[in-house]
């Protein structure tokens, strides 16, 4: 490509056929043999454009006519060159404009591709978020249901508390009446046996009533129907209540539970939810151990009053690959129908709500240890 400021040569301005036509026209004007070329010939004079010799003109005529002819040719070439320059610059400018357009087009395409990818990623993210929200909703629904069952149980326990109270006191009074009756009845063998049997019945009933009363008290502590919100909690008491409830639930089995509860300060917390969390972890431990298995429950505190609760079993444990999922909602390693898969999820959420930490360590066939750290100020 010629540059704008480059000086043109004759062949840039006129084609050979055009030069021949010009030469022929000039010849017909009576100049004889006329020749215009880039080569200098004998007797030729220069034709200038832009201070530059672009060609040499010779003809069979006198010097004056030749000079006039050279001026005429230069005049023609000036306008040819003018057109040439305009065409060149127009071409250059158009090319440059087109190149710029293509560059912008490419940039636009790249940016479109970027946005397309971004939009794809966004759609993925939205899908993920929707799934998370659905899961959370399900979880919320399940935990609300669990809680309402707990509240129902607590309500029933409260209702039982009164009748069991007067049954217990009536049975005690009945025992006193039995003593009075004994004094008034004849002292023969048959009567003595009857009274002894009667006394046994009363004392067994009293025992039973006491057990019912204990269960009711545990249920009340467990669900803490009396204080629904945050209050000062005695973690050991909550654990004991959960343990009683556990033993009652597994009345058909002998559970060996080693309680090593240390001195603990009270911490602020929601007793109902903490009890539920402890119960869920204990329930998992109870299901994991065989008949001769053992559960260890430990509590301890540090200088700042933070509390650690450790619940450990020597049961079946779990494989490493499922340990990462145990806190996921609805994850369960047990057969369908034996659990909701929410136990540890609820425990984790509760501990987190108390600004605490929960950690699960497990080795297959060796057992599982769950550590819950609850801070003094949550």
């Amino acid at each position: 490509m010629r540059r704008l400021e480059d000086d043109p040569v004759l062949s840039d301005l006129l084609e050979t056929s055009q030069i021949q036509r010009l030469e022929a026209s000039l010849a017909r004007l009576g100049l004889g043999q006329v020749s215009l070329s880039e080569e200098k010939r004998q007797g030729a004079i220069p034709v200038e454009f832009n201070l530059e010799t672009v060609g040499w003109l010779s003809a069979d005529c006198d010097a004056d006519s030749l000079k006039a002819t050279a001026e005429l040719v230069a005049f023609i070439l000036f306008f040819v060159a003018k057109y040439r320059l305009a065409a060149d610059i127009h071409h250059d400018a158009t090319e440059a404009g087109y190149a710029e357009l293509q560059r912008k087009h490419k940039a636009l395409q790249e940016s479109e591709a970027r946005y397309r990818t971004l939009s794809g990623q966004l759609q993925e993210r939205v899908k993920e978020q929707v799934a998370t929200i659905q899961k959370a909703q399900q979880e919320l629904y399940e935990s609300a249901r669990t809680r309402s069952v707990g509240q129902l149980a607590a309500g029933i326990a409260h209702e039982i508390n009164n009748p069991i109270g007067f049954i217990k006191s009536n049975l005690k009074v009945a025992g006193d009446y039995l003593d009075d009756l004994e004094a008034k009845l004849p002292d023969d063998r048959e009567t003595r046996e009857l009274l002894e049997d009667f006394r046994d019945l009363l004392s067994e009933s009293l025992d039973g009533s006491s057990r019912i009363a204990t269960i009711v008290a545990d249920l009340k502590t467990f669900s803490s129907i009396d204080h629904a919100d945050y209050t000062h909690c005695n973690i050991n008491d909550l654990l004991k209540a959960a343990l009683h409830l556990l033993k009652t639930s597994y009345a058909d089995r002998r559970l060996t539970i080693d309680e090593r509860l240390g001195e603990l300060p009270e911490i602020p917390g929601n007793p109902a939810r903490l009890s539920e969390a402890f119960y869920n972890v204990l329930d998992n431990a109870a299901r994991a151990i065989p008949e001769d298995g053992r559960i260890v429950v430990k509590t301890a505190t540090d200088n700042s009053g933070n509390i650690a609760v450790v619940i450990q079993d020597n049961g079946c444990g779990m494989a490493e690959d499922i340990q990462g999922q145990v806190f996921d909602p609805f994850f369960t390693s047990r057969p369908v129908g034996s659990g909701t898969g929410l136990g540890l999820t609820v425990a984790r959420d509760t501990v987190r709500a108390h600004k605490g930490l929960i950690r699960l360590e497990s080795r297959e066939a060796n057992g599982t240890r769950v550590t819950m750290l609850l801070p003094q100020a949550s």
């Binding site: 003018k82 610059i89 440059a96």
Partner: protein
Amino acid sequence: MADFIPEENRLNLKVVFYGPALSGKTTNLMQLHSQLMPERIGELMVLETRDDRTLFFDMLPIGLKGGHGLDLRLKLYTVPGQVQHDSTRKAVLSRADGILFVADSQRNQQDNNAMAFGNLEENLEKVGLDIEAVPIVIQFNKRDMPDTVAEDELQQRWAHTPWSPLQMASALNGTGVVETFRELLDRLYTVADQEFRLARDHGIERATFVERLSARGSDATP
């Protein structure tokens, strides 16, 4: 860039008249064409105008022969000032050796001046020229118009730039045009001498360069 062709002992230099639309770039060139009588001056070529506005460019070649036979050519170009002809402006601007910026003195044209100068900076960068290195002279034209910004104010405004002092002109009346051109030749010589050793190798001193390329009809050297 300047083009030195050793086999022909020839040096081509390119000067571009830049500036906003209708600031008088073509008028400057026409005045130079009619006022100057250097050793060699070609035809003024005015390429297509519409309503007095340049569509492509104008060109005026001038030249001189140095003492040691150097054939020195100076081609003066104008660019189209209108915003939409930016591609043409860039094409003309590329490889410029000197720039004469023709600004409009009228008060209401100051924004256009600033925009055109910004466009010059931008295009210089695009065609690979360094605004700090290219010799540039700024002329405030149209001093004959009624509402112009005072010279003092203009000089003060530009005092701290490398392009001070500014040149004042009224191209339509032919005043200040040759003076502006001479100022540019002076600055152009500094750069060209550094690169082509005009004085040492070609026997062309600063005064020769400026005077002979801008000789007026009246004071032409014999």
